[in-house]
């Protein structure tokens, strides 16, 4: 008897699911349904939550101002825990919800996995932060607001070589070591192009050391090797969680090189209980700085602080820009919410290459049909616990 009741109840629940799934398609024509995917829990949660918060601010602003040509936006962010499989699940449930445009995913590996599906659906996808070159490769429907990894690697090498960085011994840096995560596409993508470009630059790479996600706590060997090789600068194309350990362990062996990183280092000052003195003098190439006097930036930062009680990072800013890029592309193409996913995808793919957008993470940004963005990088240095433009 009990089993019968349970199975009947299950049938009822399941069929309701089918009905709701069908019901969504019709009610889709009055709003633009934009989905979002990113890690809201797990090790990379700081990025996903920032993206969610930043995007929501943009959505609320646009809706408060009357929407896009009178059509409001509905935004729905799903968690992927920085996991490719969960990202695809999130994509499918957003499709069931009626998503027409995807803002995401936040991190590269899930983005590549989702890209396979969004390409099949010809769904317009714009990522604020998934910076691997593989994200846009062969996917004409995906666009990046951030720099891609190869460009970050090349940009970093050119910055160290041409602009020059003064080491802690007072001389220009000539010996550089690299510590990267060989199990991560983001990190190894930047690393490869950095080393290639370094060959054309006046400094030499004296040590390249790797770690993997299974051995990402002990960096004593990598640091000892960099120290033995007299590296005055360590290039860290990695995320801030590992970087915070590297900074602490370098100090523990009396080794004080200049640390130079990319956008993954953004967030290092927010690690709970982290001794921010260790991060003094860390240089990072990042497109957004919250302390910039720019009026648009200041408005965004104060709104973000009011709502979430913390200073937004570049992921939040990238997400804010992504929503406005979608808006600009929708206006450019005169799209309406009733269009099918694929028609809307075709219209937006074309429109986004025609617009020029100036936002929080770059002035006069334009997009290539390949999906890459064109904009100029900015170098920041951490002084007294805040980012200062170099």
């Amino acid at each position: 008897m009990f089993k019968k009741v349970v199975s009947l109840a299950l049938i009822a629940v399941l069929s309701m699911g089918v009905l709701t799934a069908c019901g969504n398609d019709g009610a889709n024509d009055t709003v633009f349904k934009i989905g979002g995917i990113g890690p809201l829990t797990g090790g990379a949660a700081i990025y996903g939550i920032a993206v969610q918060n930043g995007a929501q601010i943009a959505v609320d602003e646009i809706n408060a101002a009357g929407g896009i040509g009178g059509v409001l936006i509905e935004f729905n962010m799903q968690d992927d825990e920085h996991d490719a499989e969960k990202a695809v699940n999130a994509y499918n449930s957003l499709k069931d919800w009626g998503m027409k445009i995807l803002m995401g995913t936040v991190t590269s590996r899930p983005c590549i996995a989702v890209g396979v599906h969004s390409k099949t659906d010809n769904l317009f996808q714009i990522t604020p932060s998934a910076s691997s070159a593989d994200v846009v490769k062969d996917n004409d429907n995906i666009f990046q607001v951030c720099f891609n990894d190869p460009n970050q690697g090349i940009g970093s090498a050119q910055y160290i070589g041409q602009v020059g960085v003064t080491g802690n011994d007072g001389n220009l840096v000539s010996n550089v070591a690299v510590i990267y995560d060989s199990s991560d596409v983001y990190s190894s993508g930047i690393y490869e192009r950095f080393v290639t470009e370094a060959a054309n630059q006046p400094f030499s790479v004296v040590a390249t050391e790797a770690f993997t996600e299974d051995s990402n706590t002990d960096f004593s060997v990598q640091l000892q090797k960099a120290k033995d090789a007299d590296a005055q600068l360590i290039f860290l194309p990695i995320y801030y969680t590992e970087a915070s350990l590297i900074l602490a362990q370098a100090a523990a062996i009396d080794y004080f090189p200049v640390f130079f990183g990319c956008d993954g280092l953004d967030g290092i000052l927010t690690v709970e209980n982290f001794n921010t003195d260790l991060a003094e003098g860390v240089i990072l190439l990042t497109p957004f700085v919250a302390s910039s006097p720019d009026a648009k930036t200041q408005a965004f930062v104060s709104e973000y602080q009011r709502l979430h009680d913390e200073v937004p990072n570049q992921f939040a800013a990238g997400a804010y820009d992504s929503i406005y890029v979608i808006k600009a592309a929708l206006e450019q193409s005169n799209a309406v919410p009733g269009m099918s996913v694929s028609d809307l995808g075709d219209a937006l793919k074309l429109a986004v290459t025609q617009i020029t957008y100036s936002g929080l993470t770059g002035e006069n940004m334009t997009w290539l049909p390949s999906g890459e963005v064109n904009k100029a990088p900015k170098a920041m240095v951490i002084v007294n616990g805040i980012y200062v433009e170099l």
């Binding site: 829990t41 797990g42 090790g43 949660a45 700081i46 060989s182 050391e209 790797a210 770690f211 993997t212 299974d214 051995s215 706590t217 002990d218 004593s220 060997v221 990598q222 000892q224 090797k225 033995d228 969680t241 915070s244 350990l245 602490a248 362990q249 523990a252 062996i253 009396d254 927010t270 690690v271 709970e272 209980n273 982290f274 001794n275």
Partner: protein, 294 residues
């Protein structure tokens, strides 16, 4: 000079593995089960200290004792609720799956309570670093503390098992559960005691681990837990000196492999050594030969 640094770092890492491996090996020796939740008890221990010291402003030494007490309670409770009812179940796989379940439960509970963001752990070790050979060799206070703790724990644990009645009871239960019961030994009580000791050690290991590598998240315990499990198998699971030797060797091989062969292949080297040792000596370095009863 670098070589000496590497060996010291390897000893420090290996000592942490050894202390964690003790928990695996003792529980296996007595209850014949793999307690995969052990790694997560480490994380709970570290979080307790982090919460006590950094959030509540507790005295570090008091926090260490609170953390040990909480982990002991947790370990005994897990054994009582999740493992004891399954003892004598048809398949030992059932208990293994339960242990994995407990492990996920603890991780997700910590995610819920403490959040996913990595926290920076303040070192609980008050010793200043020692600089030798004109600053070429720096031995951190954490390294000294870890190696010392490992030695003290090993000596006192061996003495406990050899010299005290509960220790002898543990030996007897691991030899033959049925016979021990017939001799009037409280088997369930002895198993609880084993879990209590193992979990108390896990708390110490967690504090040492996070003091040496100051990063704390709900997943902090899982990888060191797996490495320590390997160390326990490597040394011969069920053997206490085996856990020490397995842990230390694993740490030194990992660091030296990373330094002299390739930093990318560190784990590959560790696992290759494990496979070779197990091929030559399937019970591990100090493991006893088990007579399979049919």
């Amino acid at each position: 000079m670098s070589f000496i640094n590497y060996v010291i770092n390897g000893l420090s890492l290996g000592s942490i593995y050894a202390i964690i491996a003790l928990g695996y090996t003792m529980v296996y020796g007595i209850a014949r089960m793999l307690n995969f939740a052990h790694g997560d008890v480490i994380m709970v221990g570290a979080f307790t200290v982090f919460f006590g010291v950094s959030m509540q402003g507790l005295n570090p030494i008091a926090a260490v004792f609170v953390s040990i007490a909480i982990c002991i309670t947790l370990g005994v409770t897990i054994e009582f609720i999740a493992y004891r009812p399954l003892r004598g179940a048809a398949s030992s796989l059932v208990v293994l799956i339960t242990a994995i379940g407990v492990s996920y439960f603890l991780q997700n509970l910590a995610l819920l309570i403490f959040g996913a963001n990595t926290k920076s752990f303040t070192s609980m070790v008050p010793i200043n670093p020692v600089r030798l050979a004109g600053g070429e060799i720096v031995i951190s206070g954490e390294t000294i503390m870890t190696i010392l703790s490992c030695i003290i724990i090993m000596i006192s644990l061996t003495a406990f098992i050899k010299k005290t009645k509960p220790g002898q009871a543990m030996l007897a239960v691991s030899e033959d559960k049925g016979a021990a019961q017939l001799m009037g030994i409280n088997v369930n009580g002895t198993i609880s005691l084993t879990f209590a000791i193992g979990s108390g050690l896990a708390a110490i290991a967690g504090i040492l681990l996070c003091s040496a590598y100051p990063s704390l998240s709900p997943y902090t315990g899982s990888m060191p837990g797996i490495k320590a499990f390997i160390a326990a198998v490597f040394g011969g699971i069920g053997s206490i000196p085996g856990a020490l030797i397995g842990g230390i060797l694993l740490g030194v091989i990992e660091i030296l492999g990373r330094a002299y062969i390739s930093s990318q292949l560190a784990d590959v080297i560790v696992f290759m050594v494990l496979i070779i040792v197990l091929l030559v000596k399937p019970t591990g370095l100090l493991g006893r030969k088990l007579q399979e009863k049919v």
